[in-house]
């Protein structure tokens, strides 16, 4: 909301410098985004070069078709010669003149200058040249009563300060000059003054003779009031009005539209002026639209309406989407002479819904959607009638056609002063509470029969004050939040802290960072095409991510079901900027559709490794990351969590078929790891190997150990034996280790593969696995003999279970 300071000053004395006013407003809840100086600079006395002039004579320039040579009286002893290029300059006009020395808003300095041989000592101004409108067809013509030589700044707001205020949605009253002025008065303890009586010529015609108003849907239109004005002349607005409209951030259109906008800005009540001649059947009907009914709005867009939208129609067609925007058909034009002036009240949520559905917002809809005070209507109509008749001519027909569902009366609330203290934690004396509420326009009495309670009558323009707590807030903000003490809650019980799972997630990240990985945070919504790159089976649910109904763009339009695509995209980005070592991890949610209700969200850990693990240096050769490096990282994570996992052969389409594994925890799928399939890397524009993994933390974290119990590993030492087993080449190491554990007896505590051999020393199609067996008894020191026996029994069993022989 842009509020020119001069306009506010018509309603309240602004006693503070403007920056102090802005700060006072900010500290009482009205944020001032900026204070803009618009128009001519007000620095020093430069305004004195702008004066009122009278064109005494106006002749064609001898050497230029489009220029006129004017003799202008600017109140000095001698008149000045001023060359003017405007087509509308005429002798006898009262005009705005800038004398040499003046600086225009665009930075141009006026100087005495020769124009095609004629010396011009000044410039006759247009509205645009002083920032009253964007573009002017000719010079600005002023009222003849203004005298030559009068300082122009005394008559027009050449140098304006505009407060740009952010109004919160609960304060539609502040979307008006009067509302803001009332707020300024309250927070600076000044008096608010408002003109409430307007005089205008009234004809003997009755408005009700010319029009009828029918409200078919009073739920959406609680009040509709109309007045009729006949005999107006539609023209350009006078300069002062254009200035106000422009400074407020709107665009001057014509005198009728500008007046309705001016009144909206001034009192906060949107108005609509119809060309009465275009109202078919002289009927105004506020009704729900018929499904499929269309209207071409003022922005030249055809709108298709639905049955929950309110329109203002005549006997034949809808002419306005109520409270939002009018149609081109009912617009006031230059030939309009009779006006129907509407001031109505519409149901806020309905306006909000309609404006949202049509994607159409206007100054009018932003006010109506927040809910307006029905009692603004008579004031707005009176003010508009007075301005229209003065500026556009014409007379007002007697009476207002006013269809009102129900009167709105000020509401009464009770307020317990001790509740104020209870909420704020500071005592505000009752007398101060009464003063503050009084400054806000409330009336304060004692509750009948209860002197510990106040009865507060709230003005109708503050519909946001509905409950005691709302009054507490008003008291807090005017009393001043800076006055509050700083205390801490009087905590009665309980403790805080991170949960085991939250700690585990931190430890995982710390372990990976300690191992050299960098964390990334990628968007939860991804490009749907990325899922297509992953070679997933059509039936794979991961290939059907949840789409957003209103994405910002195609590349952020579906919710990820895996972290891998985001990690590959982040890898690509870094490879593209010539980063050689890209070792990334991310923890984040993936999203999985369900039949009904909210989707499942799984917190997952993802890893992607690209480029040499160790950078090439004088101590080391660069070595590419491989499957076993990634597996080692995961084993480290599982070890620190104390989770037992199994790695099994796996076939994911996006991984190398021979270099990938599925991970399970207690038989439940918990993720995968492997080399990314070369076709997938290529689809993500990555040349070279990527090794990646994803772990479902929803499965892994619950399996993480709780409290570790002590085990005596010190009293009785372990006994280690190494054996080399020859098995068929396609027997996986986990199968061998599993069989060894199963056959080893309970004293076999650990089995570790420390070498793998294929070659001449073993038969073709076989491999040798070197295992370190660790035996330990909790209650005695084992002898070599005892262990040898255990081992021999085991080897005999392995021969039958996995066909293993001991290597010669």
């Amino acid at each position: 909301m842009k509020a020119p300071l001069s306009w506010l000053s018509e309603h309240v004395v602004i006693g503070l410098p403007v920056d102090e006013l802005a700060s006072r407003l900010a500290l009482t809840g009205t944020e001032v985004e900026r204070v803009a100086a618009v128009g001519v600079s007000s620095e020093g006395d430069v305004l004195k070069w702008f004066v009122v002039g009278k064109v005494l004579a106006c002749e064609k320039h001898p050497d230029a078709d489009k220029l006129s040579v004017c003799t202008v009286d600017v109140g000095e002893d001698q008149s000045r010669t001023i060359v003017c290029g405007a087509p509308n300059v005429r002798a006898g006009q009262t005009v705005a003149v800038s004398l040499p020395g003046a600086v225009l808003p665009n930075g141009m300095t006026i100087a005495k200058a020769k124009l095609r041989g004629v010396t011009s000592s000044g410039m006759i101004l247009s509205e645009a040249e002083v920032g009253f409108e964007a573009k002017s067809p000719g010079i600005m013509v002023l009222p003849d009563e203004w005298e030559a030589g009068e300082p122009l700044g005394d008559r027009l707001e050449l140098a304006e300060s505009v407060l740009e205020v952010e109004v919160t949605p609960n304060r539609p009253d502040c979307l008006s000059i009067r509302g803001l002025a009332r707020e300024i008065a309250a927070v600076t303890d000044e008096t608010f003054c408002e003109e409430t009586e307007y005089l205008y010529p009234v004809s003997s015609r009755q408005a009700a003779d010319d029009i009828s108003v029918e409200v078919w849907d009073p739920d959406l239109c609680p009040r509709y009031a109309a007045r009729v004005i006949t005999g107006v002349t539609v023209a350009e607005s006078p300069p002062w009005l254009k200035a106000r409209i422009t400074h407020a951030g709107m665009r001057p259109v014509n005198n009728v539209v500008d007046v309705t906008n001016y009144v909206m800005w001034s009192v906060g009540q949107p108005l609509h002026a119809f060309d009465l001649a275009m109202v078919e059947g002289a009927r105004v009907i506020a009704r729900r639209a018929q499904a499929g009914e269309t209207i071409v709005t003022l922005d030249d867009t055809k709108r298709v309406l639905t049955e929950d939208m309110l329109v203002i129609a005549d006997a034949v067609k809808p002419s306005v989407i109520a409270g939002i925007m009018g149609s081109v058909d009912s617009e006031v034009t230059d030939s309009t002479t009779n006006l129907l002036l509407e001031a109505a009240n519409f149901h806020g949520p309905s306006i909000m819904r309609t404006s949202g559905a049509l994607g159409l917002r206007s100054e009018s809809s932003t006010r109506f959607e927040k809910g307006l005070d029905r009692n603004l209507i008579p004031l707005a109509l009176d003010m508009a009638c007075a301005m229209l008749t003065e500026i556009c001519g014409g007379v007002v027909s007697e009476g207002t056609v006013d269809v009102l569902a129900a009167e709105t009366y000020p509401s009464k609330l009770t307020l317990r002063p001790h509740r104020v203290e209870q909420i704020l934690g500071a005592i505000v004396p009752t007398a101060e509470i009464e003063t503050i509420l009084g400054r806000l326009g409330c009336e304060v009495d004692e509750c009948p029969g209860d002197d510990a309670c106040l009865l507060v009558t709230v003005p109708t323009w503050r519909a946001d004050l509905e409950r005691e707590i709302d009054l507490v807030e008003e008291i807090a903000r005017i009393h001043g939040l800076g006055q509050l003490p700083s205390t801490l809650p009087p905590r009665t019980e309980g403790r805080g802290g991170l949960t085991q799972d939250q700690l585990a997630v931190r430890r995982i990240a710390d372990a990976l960072v300690g191992a050299g990985l960098d964390e990334v945070v990628t968007y939860s919504f991804i490009e749907p095409g990325w899922m297509g790159h992953l070679r997933l089976e059509p039936a794979d649910p991961r290939s059907e991510p949840i789409p957003l109904t209103n994405p910002l763009s195609q590349d952020q339009s579906v919710m990820r079901t895996m972290l891998l695509p985001g990690l590959l995209a982040a890898t690509r980005r870094n490879v593209a900027v010539r980063e050689e070592r890209v070792h990334l991890f991310e923890t984040g949610n993936t999203f999985h559709a369900r039949e009904s209700g909210l989707p499942n969200e799984h917190r997952r850990l993802g890893v992607a490794l690209y480029g040499p693990w160790e950078a090439e240096s004088w101590t080391a050769k660069a070595s590419p990351p491989d499957y076993y490096l990634c597996k080692g990282l995961l084993e480290r994570v599982f070890a620190l969590l104390g989770v037992q996992v199994a790695f099994e052969v796996n076939r994911e389409g996006f991984l190398h078929p021979g270099r990938s594994a599925a991970i399970t925890v207690n038989g439940v799928a918990a993720g995968w790891l492997g080399e990314v399939h070369p076709l997938v890397s290529r689809a993500f524009d990555i040349s070279g190997h990527v090794v990646a993994a994803e772990i479902d933390l929803e499965v892994v974290l619950p399996a993480a150990r709780g409290v570790t119990l002590f085990e005596d590993l010190l009293t009785h030492p372990v006994l280690e034996q190494d054996v080399a087993l020859v098995v068929a080449e396609d027997v996986p190491a986990t199968a061998v280790v599993g069989a060894v554990r199963a056959a080893g007896g309970e004293l076999l505590r650990d089995v570790e593969v420390f070498d793998v051999y294929t070659g001449r020393q073993v038969a073709e199609g076989s491999k040798s696995l070197a295992l370190r067996l660790t035996y330990r008894s909790p209650d005695r020191t084992l002898s070599e003999n005892e262990v040898n026996q255990l081992r021999d029994t085991m080897l005999a069993e392995l021969k039958t279970t996995i066909g293993a022989t001991i290597r010669a």
Binding site: S350, M352, E369, E519, R573, E601
Partner: protein
């Protein structure tokens, strides 16, 4: 002995005086052949000489060995200024490290950390937070929808409601996590991170909110920081405030970072609206509470001087590795 220069020379000396063919060895070996009366003296004297020679050799050997170790170490010099062996060090993303810092401050004040779903129902994201349907406050949120009443949460505040549904007061909790709004420009990313805070207990006041946030601001931005509360509007708190911290660059005097105001906005907060308590069945006459919400990226930018929000989501390692 002093003239023996190295261990090889020392061995030569040993062989010469104590070797099998040395005069002393020969003498000692010949004792049985000497007259009986001479044997004790020769034996005693000969062995004394032998022991003294041995001791002298040993002493000299110790000196020579020490000297050779010094020489050998002297010889094994490294260029100690060459870089060490590379042990890769990774980095947490700045969002994570900042989130942890915020969590740790509140955990140290006795708060728990709660989490909730990122895809939410309209009820938790809006309705139970006192944003009725078609309420203008909803237009402050540009919402991504999954269906009519399922959406990407626009703030982490729905976790407030989920926590209160499960637990009776006292509640001291923060809820960090991702949030989404349909907005993308220099100062908005469509996904961002927030930390929500909620305290409900008997006798909790706005002054307690102020004190709590003062503790937070000083822990986060330095012990000299001041905070100030400005009234604001949020549908789920009443009174509502925005909180500024005194600028850490200019200390409140006014500079470019704080746009000459001396203050930097860090979060929104307020006293929990009685309507929200009604949704979760808390008695608003008995309990009062405050809530606050801050953007993690905003806090990180202020603390670390990051000037472009979008850097957080580009995942360029030249950014990630700085922190």
């Amino acid at each position: 002995m002093e003239a023996v220069a190295d261990l090889a020379g020392l061995e030569e000396t040993r062989v010469r005086f104590l070797g099998r063919k040395a005069a002393l060895t020969t003498l000692l070996r010949s004792i049985p052949e000497l007259p009986a009366a001479d044997r004790p003296n020769v034996g005693r004297f000969g062995n004394l000489v032998k022991r003294e020679l041995e001791a002298a050799l040993e002493a000299r050997q110790a000196v020579l060995e020490a000297g050779e170790l010094v020489d050998a170490l002297e010889h094994d010099r490294l260029d100690v200024t060459l870089p060490g062996r590379t042990l890769p060090l990774g980095h947490l993303h700045l969002i994570t490290s900042t989130r942890r810092e915020i969590e740790d401050i509140f955990v140290s004040m006795g708060y728990s950390v709660a989490e909730g779903p990122e895809i939410e129902t309209d009820y938790y994201n809006f309705e139970a937070l006192n944003h009725p349907a078609d309420h203008p406050a909803r237009s402050l949120h540009d919402t991504f929808f999954v269906s009519d009443d399922i959406l990407l949460r626009t703030h982490t505040s729905p976790v407030q409601v989920r926590v209160m549904e499960k637990k009776r007061p006292p509640v001291y909790v923060i809820a960090p996590g991702k949030a989404y709004r349909r907005d993308s420009d220099a100062t908005h990313t469509p996904m961002f991170h927030q930390v929500e805070g909620l305290v409900v207990d008997e006798g909790v006041t706005l002054a307690d909110l102020k004190g709590t946030l003062e503790v937070f601001a000083r822990a986060m931005f330095g012990s000299d920081r001041q905070i100030r509360l400005r009234p604001h509007f949020f549908p789920f708190t009443e009174p509502s405030v925005e909180v500024d911290v005194s600028c850490m660059i200019c200390d409140g005097v006014g500079c470019r970072l704080c746009k000459r105001s001396g203050w930097l906005e860090i979060l929104g907060a307020g006293m929990v609206d009685p309507n929200v308590f009604a949704f979760v069945g808390y008695d608003s006459e008995k309990y009062t509470g405050f809530a606050f919400g801050m953007g993690i990226e905003r806090i990180a930018m202020l603390k670390h001087g990051v000037t472009d929000l979008r850097l957080f989501y580009e995942n360029d390692l030249r950014f990630v590795r700085q922190f």
